[in-house]
């Protein structure tokens, strides 16, 4: 179940929030978004002429996902398994 093509909001560690369609993610959790808009009222005019962007994984604080696009049970189970693997 992929979230590519869904709309997400990426909140950065400098408090900037960028809304856009998820294009791709890589191993560093770098994110590419298309058709972006800055969610907070243009307090941030820096991105006015930007449609597509690349966000470095290290500066992401949160990625807000649409709740109905995510199977939370599946996610919980996967996270639990991952945590178990990490411990071993």
């Amino acid at each position: 179940m992929s979230l590519v093509g869904k709309d997400v909001v990426v909140e950065l560690k400098n408090d900037l929030s960028i809304c856009g369609t998820l294009h791709s993610v890589d191993q560093y959790l770098n994110i590419k978004l298309t058709d972006i808009s800055v969610t907070d009222p243009e307090k941030y005019p820096h991105m006015l002429s930007v449609k597509n962007c690349f966000i470095r994984g290290s500066v992401v604080r949160y990625v807000q996902l649409p709740a109905d696009e995510v199977d939370t049970q599946l996610l919980q189970d996967a996270a639990r398994k991952e945590a178990l693997q990490q411990k071993q």
Binding site: L12, N14, H46, S49, C53, R56
Partner: protein, 78 residues
């Protein structure tokens, strides 16, 4: 004052180190319009990169930079 380096990304690598050609910096201020500072050929270390935005030339040329005011961007707090 906050700044954004712009122009052509010639090369980049895994850690997002960048080579920027014909770069200029847009300095945003809450008291005056956007100031553009020509920089030339730059190497930027990836650690310092937060976002790389692809500029839509059409939208960008329609911008009135002289009238844009912006509060300083916060620095990245890990």
């Amino acid at each position: 004052m906050t700044s954004a380096l712009e122009n052509y990304i010639n090369r980049f690598d895994q850690t997002i180190n960048l080579i920027l050609d014909e770069s200029h910096e847009r300095v945003f201020s809450s008291s005056q319009g956007v100031e553009q500072v020509v920089l030339g050929l730059y190497i930027v270390r990836g650690d310092n990169v937060a976002v790389i935005g692809e500029i839509d030339e059409e939208t960008d040329s329609a911008l009135d930079l002289g009238n844009i005011r912006a509060e300083p961007l916060n620095s990245v707090a890990h």
